[in-house]
Structures are given as structure tokens and as C-alpha cells.
């Protein structure tokens, strides 16, 4: 097992480097001269010679004249030490700029993941147990609708209903402007502002996940050992939760882990719509403003997240189900 984990991690690191190379070259395909961009505001204040001198200096400092592999090596060694370069928009190191959006994104996503799981798992189990009942069938229809509608349409509907028509929640921002109060009051204020985005994120992922939990649970319930368990005279609760759910857990865990990644990518749309200064919103504005150091850093974050997700889902097979031969 340990050998397997080691192998997986080695492999993960390899993939990470390959992807970072691809990313780096991709970004360097873009026409544009960072040195010139940096000096642009000074252009009229400097004499031509001084400008030229400074320009050459900047080119040297930024290493623009080096061949591509050397530039990549410099950038990568910086990244490994936590230095992602400078943001051209914020005129500050990417590492500092990116902290607060990352906090927001992680907070939103973890919160919505918890809510979603708290709803889908019981719902999935319940509909599986009461298979083909009217309740089950209506949930089935709703879930198809749920996963067929893109998250931004759900968001439009929510904004229309809860913010415009009913006026219950604010549409944008994280806090009331100039808010002051105790930590608890601030948390309440934040939650009030996040109610809509969190609701949309949750509703958006309910459909697919519920269907999946239900399918896994039905598979598990149709096994022979369930019949045996019932024949033994075990309580239905025990049959469902100990015997069936344990076995349904395996596919569900895999799905949840791969779903985690997509949630982070999905919150990109939500952040944009509700004007939350999270990673996604940051990423989009970095792309549109051509602040490529920031965009690359965020992209790396997404990739690391994805690779970690893959690793975790592989490992979880082994942990949850000893039958799975991970050492293949």
C-alpha cells in the first residue's frame, strides 16, 4: 500500500510538472512585452535614453531575453518557493494578492459542500429505500431538471425570486459596506450576504449527486447479502445503514471527490454573478486584464486541486474497500 501511495505521489508530481510546462508555454505564446508594460506609466517622464536604459534593465531583471527553458526553470523555482511573480494589475506579489480571494472561495465551497452532502445523502438513501414511490419519482424528475439547468440560470432565477421579487437577500458583496461589530455579528452578516450564492451552489449540485447516491444505494440494496441480513431478522435500519450504505459508500466517495473539483470550477460562475471577490472572479478579471501571473497561479491551484482529488479518490478505494487491488 505504501509503495502504491509513493508511486502515485511520484506520478502526481510528474504530471504537475508536465502541466506547468504546458501552461507556461501557453502563456508565453501571448504577444506582449511585460517590460514595456511596466515602464509605460513613466514613458513621458523619462528621456529617450533613460527610457531605453531602464527598459533594458527591466528586461534583464525579468529575464525576458533568456531562452524559454531557463525562464521556465526560474519561474518554477520561484513557484516552488512560493513566489509566483508580480501581479501587473495590483503591483504586488501574486502570493499576497491571492490570499483573500482564496479564503473566500474555500469558505464558500466547503460550506456549500457540507450543506449539499447533508441534503443529498439522506435524500438519496431515502429515495432508494422507497424506490418507485411517488416521492421518489418526483425527486427523480426534479433531479433531472436540476442537473440539466446550468448554474447561472439557477442563479438568475434565485436573484429574481429572492432578491428582486421578495427582497430577502442582497445580490452582491460579502459584507455590508463599512460593517463593524463583533466577530459573531460579522459572521452573521457574511452569511446573510452569502445566502443566495450558497443556495445556488447547493441547488446546482443537488441533482446529480442525489441521483448518484440513489443509484449506488439501489445497487447495494439489490445484493444477496441484504436479503441474508433481512432473513436474519435484523432491523431495517441496521440493514440500510450498516449493510447497504457501507457498500454504497465506495462509488459515492469517488464521485464526491471528483465532484469537489468541479465545485471549485463551478463557483467561478457564482462568484462572477454575485460579485464575490473569490478565486473565480479573480481569475476571470486576471484573464480579461491580461494579468497572467495571477491567472497562472490560480490555474496551478486548480490543477493541484484536481491532482489531489485524483489521488484521494484512488486511495479511498483502497481504504473503503479492501477488495480493490490497488497494487495492480
Amino acid at each position: 500500500m505504501i509503495k502504491y501511495v509513493g508511486k502515485r505521489i511520484m506520478y502526481m508530481i510528474l504530471v504537475f510538472f508536465i502541466m506547468s510546462i504546458a501552461l507556461f508555454f501557453l502563456y508565453n505564446l501571448i504577444p506582449g512585452d511585460p517590460a514595456r508594460a511596466e515602464l509605460e506609466p513613466l514613458r513621458n517622464k523619462l528621456t529617450a535614453e533613460e527610457y531605453q536604459y531602464r527598459y533594458q534593465l527591466a528586461r534583464e531583471r525579468l529575464g525576458l531575453d533568456d531562452p524559454m527553458p531557463i525562464r521556465y526553470a526560474k519561474w518554477m523555482s520561484g513557484v516552488l518557493q512560493g513566489d509566483f511573480g508580480m501581479s501587473s494589475i495590483y503591483k504586488a506579489p501574486v502570493r499576497e494578492v491571492i490570499v483573500s480571494p482564496m479564503k473566500i472561495t474555500v469558505f464558500i465551497n466547503i460550506f456549500s459542500i457540507i450543506i449539499t452532502l447533508a441534503i443529498t445523502i439522506p435524500l438519496g438513501i431515502f429515495t432508494a429505500v422507497k424506490k418507485n414511490s411517488i416521492f421518489d419519482k418526483s425527486v427523480q424528475v426534479l433531479t433531472i431538471v436540476g442537473y440539466s439547468i446550468p448554474v447561472f440560470i439557477i442563479a438568475l432565477l434565485f436573484i429574481y425570486l429572492f432578491a428582486v421579487r421578495l427582497g430577502w437577500f442582497p445580490v452582491s458583496g460579502l459584507n455590508t459596506p463599512n460593517f463593524s461589530g463583533t466577530a459573531w455579528e460579522e459572521f452573521k452578516d457574511t452569511m446573510y450576504h452569502l445566502a443566495l450564492p450558497l443556495g445556488v451552489l447547493t441547488v446546482g449540485s443537488l441533482g446529480g449527486l442525489t441521483r448518484y447516491v440513489r443509484a449506488a444505494m439501489i445497487d447495494a440494496l439489490s445484493m444477496d447479502y441484504i436479503r441474508t441480513a433481512r432473513a436474519k431478522g435484523l432491523k431495517e435500519r441496521v440493514v440500510i445503514f450498516s449493510h447497504a450504505w457501507r457498500n454504497a459508500l465506495l462509488p459515492v466517495i469517488t464521485l464526491i471527490i471528483s465532484w469537489l473539483m468541479s465545485v471549485f470550477a463551478g463557483s467561478l460562475v457564482i462568484e462572477r454573478m454575485f460579485n464575490l471577490k473569490g478565486m473565480g472572479d479573480f481569475y476571470i478579471s486576471a484573464l480579461t486584464n491580461q494579468d497572467y501571473n495571477v491567472a497562472m497561479a490560480i490555474q496551478l491551484f486548480y490543477i493541484i486541486l484536481a491532482l489531489l482529488g485524483n489521488l484521494l479518490s484512488d486511495l479511498s478505494y483502497g481504504v473503503v474497500d479492501p477488495r480493490v487491488r490497488v497494487n495492480k
Partner: protein, 604 residues
Amino acid sequence: MSKDTNQKKKKPSLLKRLFGGKSDMSIYEEELVQSPFRTIISNFKDNKVAMTGLIGFSIILLIVLIGPFIFPITTSFSEVSQINVAPGLDMMDVPEELQGNIKQISIGPTFSVGISNNGDVYIWGKTKISSALDVANIPEDMGKIVQVSAGFDHIIFLNEDGKLFFSGNNRQRQSTPTYEVENLTNIKQIEAGYQSSVVVTEDGYVYYFGNSMNNDYNEKNPYQGQIDKVATTSDGVIGLTKSGEVVYLGNQQNAYTRFPENMGKIVDIGTTASTVAAVNENGKVFVWGNISTNGEGNPPELDEKIISIQGGRYHYTALTESGRIVSWGANNYKQTEVPPELKDAKVVSYFTDSYQNYAIDENNNLHTWGLKGYLLGTDELGRDIFSRLINGGRMSVFIGAVAVVISTIIGIVVGSVSGFVGGKVDMVLQRISEMVSSLPFLPFAMILSSLIGNKIPPNQRVFLIMVILGLLSWPGLQRLVRAQILSIREQEYVTAAKSVGIKQVSIIFKHILPNVVSVIIVSATLDFATSMLTEATLSYLGFGVQAPQPTWGNMLYGANNSIVIQNYWWRWVFASIILGVCVICINLIGDGLRDAIDPKSQER
């Protein structure tokens, strides 16, 4: 029993075959051996939900495939006077109380106002100008109204005592007459233009109020005291003097001042948004100004005299001596298609402006032609949402389909090679596939689209989006195909094929693949839905297909603020609904197919 006799025996109606339950079968029929493919089809047909999805999707597909030929769009189209018009086809619905009793009708961009012979005012069409303003909110106690004029976003009323009333927008003070205008008692003509109001008195004086930046008007023009009639374009005021001369009442020298020579004595003038037309006493029409390619500068050759003329936004309608009506100019809303029943009728009065025409014949019957309204409203550039939905649908479906074809081909090739060859090849292909699948989809698609998209022209972006979607979404199918092939590879018929010495390639594609076709179809169907959703999301964020080329996703691009969400609901509701319904239908089909192929899953 052969298939043929089986079918001849029972011939249920189409409806029953689609929705009906299974009919009772004899034991022989039940035991009849069916090919797997036929089983799948019959299983699918028995699934009512999936059939509903199939029918729904077929209808949508038909509409978006045929629709664009019936409702073509010009992508560069925009029309200021028609922006954010609410859905409805009531722009020419003259109130019943007014019909047969019409004294005058005046037409604004999206609304019309009429007065009856008793002096009552009726307003119809889309009267809401903004969330707070409604031209239908007319002042009370106006008395008997004798003349009305509808402008771009305001209406002027003149009552029998010579007093003026206004409704609608007043931001440019177009509804606030100056002191001297308020005291006038001899008003002859009122004319509401683009953010401006013009009043002509009996003794030939012109008074102007409203936006003086956009409209060129010179208060101290040399024609004061001689003016008989005025007409407004979208940026100027044209006058007709009592002696039958057309004059321009502004300061500038522009296209309006380039009067044609030898016009003779003019009897009537009319204006479109940017041209002027005059009719002389011989019945000849002259048109000048900024003439567009729409044809308003080419009056038809007639064998009789034209006696009066009125202009719409881009077209003219004129009346001849014998009471015939002719229309020419832009015909994008059928505003120059004079109804055939007017050919023989003698028209006594007619009213034309914007995109509408009203004509009353000698029997007091009302005829209308032109723009009725928009079924689903218009967007922020005045484009018809209905035709954009249809044209955008074709693009959305097309992008989804091509993306799926690309990803399916890659998935099949990689999956089957990987599964059948195995070993090092399998290892390498699987690692590549893992890499692609661990790319976060949306951010990566955005990167590609913004990096590559900047370099290529907008219409090629469509293909870029297809390729990006296709290149990023194959790993799922690849894994599925590989797993299937791994299990089929060991079966006897493959061993048999190998032992006969058939080439590997043809074993893969001729012997093995047909057995996994069903899995591929299901996966492709579900991928199709996903691709459409992803395209919509990308376009919505501004990283996909970009305006003016419509897709269902980018039609929602501008909808992301509460003003639009609240006031212009039609701009996002319809696109959302059709996108949602289409994807739901595709998913239903995919689910139904999966159930039909895998009988075990039917128990779910």
C-alpha cells in the same frame, strides 16, 4: 414466426406505439428471439419519459434547423428605437371604441396614440418607456383633444382651447413648453420628434423645445412667420413654407440642406429618421438626406399624381389622387407591404410613422400593416429575441454536436487502442487521459479561448469553442470504451478472429467496436447535453461565442444585473427556458437509452 408477420398482425397507432403500454402477447411472441438492437428500441419506446424527451428534442431540433431559413437575422442589426421592447403583438391593436371613429393617429416607436372625433384619447402598444415612465399616464382633464403627436418617448396633446398637454419622458425638457409657448392660442400643428417638440402657429411661427444638442434647430431662422408645416427627422427640423418651399430650420449645412433642384411648388413633406421627402404640385416625389440602401430614396413610378406623403423610420407611405396607397423603403418589418385589399379601396386618410401604417378607406374601415410587435420582445440593441433564439439555437446545437463528435472519435480511438493493445501503449494513453481529465474544465477552456481567441476573427471562435470542448471531454468515454473492450477482448469470438489471422485494426473496429456501440451512444448523448451546457456557461461568461453571433448562452450575457433581471425579464427568461428544456430532453433521452440498453438498470 418471422418479423414481418409479427408486424402485420398488430398495427397499433403511432400514438399508442409511442405512449401506450405493452399489448398482451401470446407466449410465442413473448418468447420470440429478438436481436439486441431491436430489444433496445422496443425498450426505449416503452419508456414514456424518454419518448417525451425524444419528441421534445426533435421538435426543438426541427425548429432550430428550419427556423433560421424562415426567420433569418442580420448579425450587425441594431435599432435604437426598438430596444428592450416587451413581448407581445399588440402594437397595432387599435382599441375597439376608437375604430370607425378615428380622427387622428400618431405613432411612436413602440406605441400609438389615437383621438376619436369626440376628442377622446386612446393609447395602445408598448407604452412603458422605462420602469418608472409610461406614456399611457396621460394628464387628467385635458378636455377635448384635437391633435396628438407621438415622439420618440413622449406624446404631445393639443385640446380645442389650444392648450398643450404632455405625457412620457421629460428628461430633455421636451415635455416642458417655454413660457411663450404656454401662452400661445393659435397653435396649428404640433410635432413630437426625437427628444424634442415643435409647435407651429397659424401665423407661421415655429417654437421648439427639448434636446437642443442632438437636434439641429435655429430659433432665429429666417423663415419665422412663413412656416406652414414642420416635420422632424431624428436630428433636424424641416419646414414647408406657405409659399410651397422646403426649408431647413437648423444652423448646419448638411445632407438635409442639399435640396434637389427644380422641385417646383411643394404641397407636402414627410421625413424618415434621416431623409426628407417632398411632393410637388405635379405629384412628383423628391427624396434627399442621408439616404440608406433600404430604398427609401427610390419612390415607385406611378401613372398618377401623389398628393400627400408621410414617413416612417426608414420608409415612406404616400397617397395618390385616386386614393391609392403606395409604400416604399425598408421592409424589414413588412412596413411597406400594403395589404392587397387596399388595392381597390379608396383611402381617405392614413397615418404612418416608425414601423406602422394605419389607413382608413372610404367605408371607414381600418387597415394596418407593418410591425405588430415582438413575440418574445427585443434585447438591448433592439434585436428580435425570437429570431435570435432560433438562430442561436442552431449555433448552440451545432457546437454541442460537433464537440461531441470530436470527443467521441478521440474517445473511441484512444479507448479501443488502449484497451486492445494494452501494455506500454495503454500505460501512456491512460496517463495522458488522466492528465486531460484532471485539467479543471471551465478554467482551462477559458484560458484557451482567451489566449487563442484573441488571435482569430470572431466567426472562427465558434470552431475554436467546438474544438476546445471536444478536446477536453473525451477521457470519460475513453475509459468506458477501454473497460468494455478489456472485457470483450477475452471472449471466444475475438480469439477466433485472431486465430484466423485478421488484422488487429479490423478486429478492433469490425469485431469488437460494434459490441460497444450502445455504450458509446449513451455516453455521446449525455456528453451532448454537457457540451451544450458548457458552451452556454462559457458564452455566458464572455469566453465562448461572442455577440453579435447569438447562442443561447451568450444571449444571457447581458442579463447579469438586477435591472435587467427585474425590468427586462424577457431578455433572460426565454433563453433560459429553451436551453433548460433542450438539455433536459437530451438528458431524458440519454437516461432512457441507458435503461433500454442495460435491462438491469431498469430496476433502478
